[in-house]
């Protein structure tokens, strides 16, 4: 098991390097730091000195890949590629445009992101599976038919409307919870409740319908017929056999998403003013803070790879046929 995990982590390295090269290409080769400086400074204030100053503040005034002027090993290390891209592997992300340390900011903002995303994820998973199983149990009846109709309709609504609707109804009209904001400690519950609930509702249509399809596919298999032929009741068939086996396809989609709980919902956090990583990313995009966007791309791909690894490990837990090799 441990040997397997280590090998998988080694496999992940080329992918991370690839991501690094792509972001480096996007941020420094397609557009040179000069272009970025001109864009950020605005048309009026562009002077060669201002650009040089901007670049020096951010450390973009070095050569891209190879510093011929520097002595010894510095030829390679005193470059933009080393300073801005390779240092990310050591979780050294440098500073944002407002001068704060990005790595520290990311650590601080993880908490609020998790506080919203984890309850939403767990409650959502429970509700989706419950409803999907119910629809599968009542398959080919009016309950199932209208359930699917509601799911398809719910899927067709943009998540932004769920957020706006939730904020309007629950926070503005009924004054049950604050519209937006966040605070630490036990007070956080008031602020977390609405975003988490909206997250659950917004994902209902798509997930429930998908899980129902997984359940229906299992139900039509031979071993289920055998179980019925043995005289097992329908509920035993569903919970003991169908639910367990349908967990495999469900896990494929779900486990890979777990690491992304750290990033949280981009839109949700920004709408509800939650100081998590999602709103951090959106603010960085809006203020065109390239350093932060670059760091978040790196973190995101790291989490994705972690998700793939988790998925493989979880397979062995639910499906004894799968061997790690």
């Amino acid at each position: 098991m441990i040997a397997y995990i280590i090998r998988r982590l080694l496999y992940a390295m080329p992918i991370l390097i690839g991501v690094n090269v792509i972001t480096f290409g996007l941020f420094f080769l397609v557009n040179t730091p000069d272009d970025m400086a001109r864009m950020q400074l605005g048309v009026k204030r562009v002077t060669p000195e201002a650009i040089a100053n901007w670049k020096q503040e951010r450390g973009y005034d070095k050569p891209l890949l190879f510093n011929a002027a520097a002595p010894g090993l510095d030829k390679v290390t005193n470059t933009i590629f080393y300073e801005k891209s390779l240092r990310m592997f050591a979780f050294d992300f440098g500073r944002a445009d407002d001068g704060r340390d990005i790595a520290r900011e990311i650590r601080m903002r993880m908490g609020p992101s998790l506080a919203v995303a984890v309850p939403s994820f767990l409650v959502g998973l429970f509700i989706y599976i419950t409803f999907a199983l119910a629809f599968a149990f009542f398959r080919a009846t009016y309950i199932d038919f209208w359930g699917v109709v509601i799911c398809v309709a719910a899927m067709s609504i943009s998540s932004m409307f769920y957020i706006i609707g939730g904020q309007y109804l629950i926070a503005k009209l009924w004054h049950l919870v604050p519209i937006s904001g966040y605070s630490g400690g036990t007070d956080a519950l008031r602020f977390v409740l609405l975003p988490a609930a909206v997250g659950v509702v917004a994902g209902f249509g798509g997930s429930t319908r998908l899980y129902r399809a997984f359940f229906l596919e299992e139900i039509s298999k031979d071993y289920v017929r055998t179980a019925r032929a043995k005289g097992l009741s329908e509920s035993v068939v569903l919970f003991r056999h169908v639910l367990k086996n349908a967990m495999i396809p469900i896990l494929t989609g779900v486990v890979v998403a777990i690491p992304f709980l750290f990033i949280g919902g981009l839109i949700t956090e920004s709408f509800f003013g939650i100081p998590g990583l999602g709103s951090y990313t959106i603010d960085a995009i809006n203020s065109q803070d390239f350093a932060v966007v670059r760091s978040m791309v790196f973190i995101g791909s790291l989490l994705y790879i972690a998700g793939l690894l988790l998925t493989d490990i979880s397979y062995t837990l639910v499906d004894p046929r799968v061997r790690l090799s």
């Binding site: 943009s158 409307f161 596919e217 990313t281 995009i285 966007v293 995101g300 994705y304």
Partner: protein, 488 residues
């Protein structure tokens, strides 16, 4: 000429797409084995209702894709022809009154007065604080307070009646065509149509058209004198903005897949068919691209594109061309981030297909690789391509709204559902609330996405061999359903 035609980049691609669809239709018509799954789509009521609604949207989108620059009226007679810098489309020409009748600021749907009180100067010179009359909305009324309700009701009923009459002609035409094809009298065909006994779900389709015509007729009749969906912050008609947004949504939903298809097809099939280091390289490529969260990759790419556009203004003569190029680039970026899923599916399918006997036989006969791929592999993966293209559409339309909100979507000067939501969101805090732009974007977007979802489901049910085999024994187990069970 009174105008100069302009073909934008996305217009070219839209025409290409229309040509592809027409060629496909002509090609499929003569081939029974290709026609059979489409016939199954044609027999699904929900699918055809979805298609009907989609076609209405497509018609608006196509009208909005015929661009031109009107000639400016010049004082000297035809000495020098000058065309306006502003780009217009056929839709703009049709909606010219809606486009040009700008109010000062917000007004509610069908209102005759502005939304907020202002200082008004009376005829006698004294000032009062009241709701000023609109310049255009309800301008024909003398006293809006008493007359507007009756005037609105008249226009609604009149418009709906005109819509109903137009619909009746279509319904009669359908019945006549049915009667013709089945060689029976028209009133028999008419009866069978309304009892739902036609092989294709004509009753559902006609009812959908009726609903659209009633709403559309009423909207057109009301639009003559009112702002049907109100006006936005700078006084633009929201109904007009909504109609203009349709093209953006359609372009994003369709061109993205058009852009990504060549990559996904070439790489997916190559990986599965050739195997070995080709497979390894392609797998590495799509795992790497996949591992970057798509929103972030899109954001990074769009930020970079913005830098490129902003630092090279000389490349873009008009604002519309700049916005259009940005839209096209957004499609490409979305395509780059979304081809991986289809690529993986195609790789798996090609891997499976190349072991089949007929491909082995082709190899034994010495058929070259490119012939095997184009004659044997490609036709056998087309159903996967088709299913994923139609399934992708609604997701892309929804993604556009989110991206515009994040600030990496379409150009701010371009109308889109995303920018409508984004602008309207800021007005949520107003008391009383400005709800109409949000409601308009909501209704049109949900209709479009729901129609696309219904159609996509019908296409998948008809083309996916797996769905058909697993769904059949289930339905026979219990009492038969009155309608489609919704598929898997």
């Amino acid at each position: 000429m009174p105008f100069q035609t302009v073909i934008l980049w996305t217009d070219w691609l839209i025409y290409l797409l229309v040509a592809v669809v027409v060629v496909t239709v002509v090609y499929v018509r003569g081939r029974e084995h290709l026609l059979a799954p489409w016939r199954r789509v044609g027999h699904s009521a929900s699918g055809m209702v979805g298609l009907t609604v989609l076609l209405m949207f497509v018609a608006v989108g196509l009208l909005d894709s015929l661009h031109y620059r009107p000639r400016l009226p010049s004082s000297e007679a035809a000495s020098k022809v000058v065309y306006a810098a502003e780009l217009k489309s056929a839709l703009d020409a049709a909606l010219e009154p809606l486009r040009s009748r700008r109010e000062k600021t917000y007004s509610a749907p069908l209102a005759s007065e502005l939304f907020a009180k202002e200082m008004i100067e009376r005829a006698d010179g004294s000032q009062t604080r009241d709701y000023p009359r609109l310049k255009f909305g309800g301008a024909q009324l003398k006293d809006p307070g008493t007359e507007s309700a009756a005037s609105i009701a008249r226009a609604t009923v009149g418009g709906a009646a005109a819509g109903a009459v137009a619909w009746l002609f279509i319904a009669l035409f359908v019945a006549a065509a049915l009667a013709q094809s089945q060689r029976q009298h028209i009133h028999l065909a008419w009866g069978a149509l309304w009892r739902g006994e036609t092989p294709a779900p004509w009753r559902a389709v006609l009812l959908t058209i009726l609903a659209i015509f009633l709403a559309g007729g009423a909207a057109v009749a009301l639009a003559v004198n009112y702002h049907v969906l109100g006006t936005d912050k700078v006084g633009q008609d929201v109904f007009y903005l909504t109609l203009k947004s349709i093209r953006t949504a359609l372009v994003i939903g369709t061109l993205t897949t058009l852009v990504m298809l060549p990559f996904a097809l070439a790489l997916g099939i190559a990986a599965g068919y050739f195997g070995g280091w080709v497979d390894d390289a392609i797998q590495y490529l799509y795992t790497t691209l996949n591992s970057i969260p798509s929103v972030l990759l899109i954001a990074a790419a769009v930020l970079m594109m913005q830098v490129y556009i902003d630092t090279r203004p000389e490349l873009f003569p008009t604002a519309a061309q700049r916005a259009d190029l940005r839209l096209l680039f957004l499609c490409i970026i979305l395509g780059v981030t979304s081809w991986t899923g289809l690529c993986r599916l195609l790789r798996g399918e090609a891997l499976k297909l190349k072991e089949l006997e007929y491909i082995q036989a082709a190899h034994a006969f010495g058929v070259r690789h490119h012939r095997v791929i184009s004659r044997h592999i490609l036709p056998n993966v087309m159903h996967i391509v088709l299913i994923s293209v139609v399934m992708e559409f609604s997701g892309l339309v929804l993604a556009e709204a989110v991206l515009s909100y994040v600030g990496v979507g379409v150009d701010p000067s371009m109308n889109s559902f995303g920018s409508m939501i984004n602008n309207a969101r800021l007005e949520m805090a107003r008391e009383p609330m400005v709800w109409w732009s949000l409601a308009a974007a909501f209704v049109f977007m949900v209709t479009l996405v729901l129609a696309a979802n219904l159609f996509a489901d019908a296409v998948r049910d008809a083309f996916d061999p797996r769905v058909r085999t697993s769904a059949l024994p289930l339905r026979s187990m219990k009492a038969p359903l009155p309608a489609k069970a919704g598929g898997a």
